[in-house]
């Protein structure tokens, strides 16, 4: 703002005093209340998240079995991961394949479904969103897929295919490499209609009414134009949120894979980085190595986040 260099203050003393008062007032009425409101979260965030993250990064440079104290080994964990450990490179490949397919698809589905559901009157909307949200409410809902894809002739899918004569022998779905990744992706998509879906719905509630009216007057003819020129730009912040949640969910998926395909899965077809990390930490007690993996995973996710930010910018206006 106005810098008071020599003499200036003497020339317009009244004005500069007013300015000083103004910035002090701003401090008192704007910044301090804002910081007070931020403080509770910031304190908990620092103590329970930031400190552990730095501790975990520090541990990634050590050999630590959770019994003896950590031993500093420079970048040996990272060298082992990249040079020696072929298991790790397989899991990286699996994680990337999974994330590149399931992430964007999940993002699109959760938006498109929310957009459709939002067309209805409040009561119907509540019923429909309940249906789509149901897998998230049940919790470990993937168990139903275990029964469906069961490898004997009694699994729902096998018995259906056998009865209509498409196959002659039951297929061992969850032990056949070629089927594993597609199955896991379908289950993930079906289960991912949780957080992003509902936050998209609440985002759509507030896309302003006169924007649609103005659009109709300006010659918007159908749903698609309305979507492209009104809804998408207005939904920008919520779409970014939903994209970040999808990155988080798809890069750190492991429960569905371990539950459906087992660990290790057939030819390691669907072992993800987090599956391997869990194994390292809980079965082999190599926590330093597991931490190094989580740092690498973190870097991959941050790269994905920056890329997604760039892509979403294209739809801003």
């Amino acid at each position: 703002m106005f810098k008071n260099k020599n003499g200036d203050a003497a020339v317009i003393p009244a004005a500069s005093k007013k300015l000083r008062n103004y910035s002090r007032d701003k401090m008192l009425t704007e910044h301090i209340p804002m910081l007070i409101m931020l403080a509770p979260f910031l304190i908990f965030f620092f103590v329970f998240t930031i400190i552990p993250i730095f501790a975990s990064i520090a541990l990634s440079f050590t050999s630590y079995d959770m019994i003896a104290s950590p031993k500093f080994i420079w970048i040996d964990n990272y060298r082992r991961m990249i040079v020696e450990d072929t298991t790790f490179s397989t899991t990286v490949r699996n994680t990337l394949t999974f994330a590149i397919i399931a992430g964007p698809l999940g993002f699109l589905m959760s938006f498109v479904l929310a957009w459709f559901v939002n067309e209805f009157t409040p009561k119907i909307r509540a019923i429909l969103s309940f249906m789509f949200y149901a897998p998230s409410l049940v919790g470990n809902a993937y168990f139903i897929w275990k029964v469906a894809f069961s490898g004997d002739s009694y699994g729902y899918i096998n018995s259906f295919l056998l009865s209509i004569g498409v196959i002659a022998e039951p297929i061992v779905w969850l032990k056949t490499e070629a089927y594993l990744m597609p199955i896991i992706i379908v289950v993930q998509l079906w289960q991912s209609m949780g957080v992003s879906f509902l936050s998209n719905i609440s985002g759509l509630q507030n896309v302003s009414r006169d924007m649609y009216e103005a659009g109709a007057i300006d010659g918007i003819r159908n749903r698609w134009q309305e979507l492209r020129y009104i809804t998408l730009p207005a939904m920008q912040p919520m779409l970014l949120f939903s994209a970040v949640m999808q990155i988080q969910a798809s890069f750190s998926a492991s429960t569905i894979m371990i539950e459906l395909a087992g660990y290790p899965s057939k030819n390691m077809a669907v072992d993800s980085i987090v599956s391997l990390m869990t194994d390292m930490a809980t079965v082999r007690y190599e926590l330093g190595y597991a931490c190094a993996m989580s740092v690498v995973l973190f870097i991959m996710m941050v790269a994905a986040r920056l890329l997604v930010g760039k892509i979403l910018k294209l739809f801003e206006k």
């Binding site: 103590v47 329970f48 993250i53 009157t121 139903i144 009694y154 759509l204 509630q205 009414r209 159908n222």
Partner: protein
């Protein structure tokens, strides 16, 4: 624009406005598609409820059946007997679970949305850096954080107290991120300026202007937070029986193997009821607060 005008405006917009951009064929296709997809998504819920009514022989039958043929309430009726063997009366666990879930959820929503408001509408230095930190922290896999976190919990003396349920969720970044995005898109600066000119201070602006405006998002956040806290098991952090919550009791009941598979499913169904109630209450209020154009209007 004064505050009154803003809300009047909003209410006026709520009254039904015809949308000119919808075709009947499109609407019918939409309904069919959504109902099919919705029923598909309901399958696990139906399976759980139906299994909880299966008698023992139907549970063991091979091939397994999706729906129950001869429903029985036996799985539910046996629950009081199973509960009777608990060392602490069941009511204690229920009070713990309900109390902790509601208290933590309400406090977290306040903590998170205050922070979200501060980051999105504040003008102080460093708020951008904080926002990026929040986003990046969301991406650090929680798994490897567990050990350092445990050390911090025990240093702070939180282990085996109620605080272990309440404090750690306050650090959750999801609500802050969600709130910030929503406030940015839906709370116009003009509205805040008007309130300040009317003489309201920042806290008052947050409570009586921002919170009502962002009602859909705090109702949704309420649901996410409640669901997570309700079903969380603080493994290895609670040892006193009096401090335990329902999910821990459930694992004790379900530990009985196949013979108890039916009761285990019955307990699972009962445990789903509170999140479902919260879902219905919150989502129907979302709908009420901002009814938007519907096909039938």
């Amino acid at each position: 624009m004064t505050i009154k005008q803003y809300f009047q405006d909003k209410r006026a917009k709520k009254s039904a406005v015809k949308r000119y951009t919808r075709s009947t064929a499109g609407n019918i296709a939409l309904v069919l598609f959504l109902v099919a997809g919705g029923l598909f998504s309901l399958l696990p819920l139906i399976y759980c409820v139906s299994t909880s009514f299966k008698p023992l022989d139907e549970l063991l039958i091979f091939p397994p059946r999706f729906l129950v043929h001869r429903p029985t309430i036996g799985n539910y009726a046996i629950l009081p007997d199973l509960m009777a063997s608990l060392r602490v009366p069941l009511s204690r666990y229920i009070v713990n679970s309900v109390g902790i879930s509601f208290f933590t959820t309400v406090v977290y929503i306040l903590v998170a949305l205050m922070a979200a408001y501060s980051i999105s509408k504040g003008t102080f230095k460093g708020r951008n850096a904080i926002f990026w930190t929040v986003q990046f922290a969301l991406m650090f896999n929680a798994y490897t954080l567990a050990v350092p976190q445990y050390l911090i919990f025990s240093k702070l003396g939180l282990i085996d107290t109620y605080w272990i349920y309440i404090l750690p969720p306050m650090a959750s970044t999801m609500g802050v991120f969600l709130g910030k995005q929503y406030i940015e898109g839906n709370v116009p600066d003009a509205l805040l300026e008007a309130a300040k000119i009317d003489g309201a201070n920042q806290f008052k602006v947050f409570w009586s202007i921002v919170m009502p405006t962002i009602k859909p998002i705090w109702l949704t956040l309420l649901l996410f937070t409640f669901r997570d806290i309700w079903s969380a098991v603080p493994s290895g952090k609670i040892f006193s029986e009096e401090l335990k919550i329902l999910p821990q009791v459930v694992t004790q009941i379900t530990a009985g193997g196949t013979a108890r598979a039916g009761s285990a499913m019955a307990v699972t169904v009962i445990m789903m009821i509170p999140p479902i109630i919260v879902f219905l209450v919150s989502q129907s209020s979302v709908a009420e607060s901002m009814s938007s154009a519907g096909i039938k209007e």
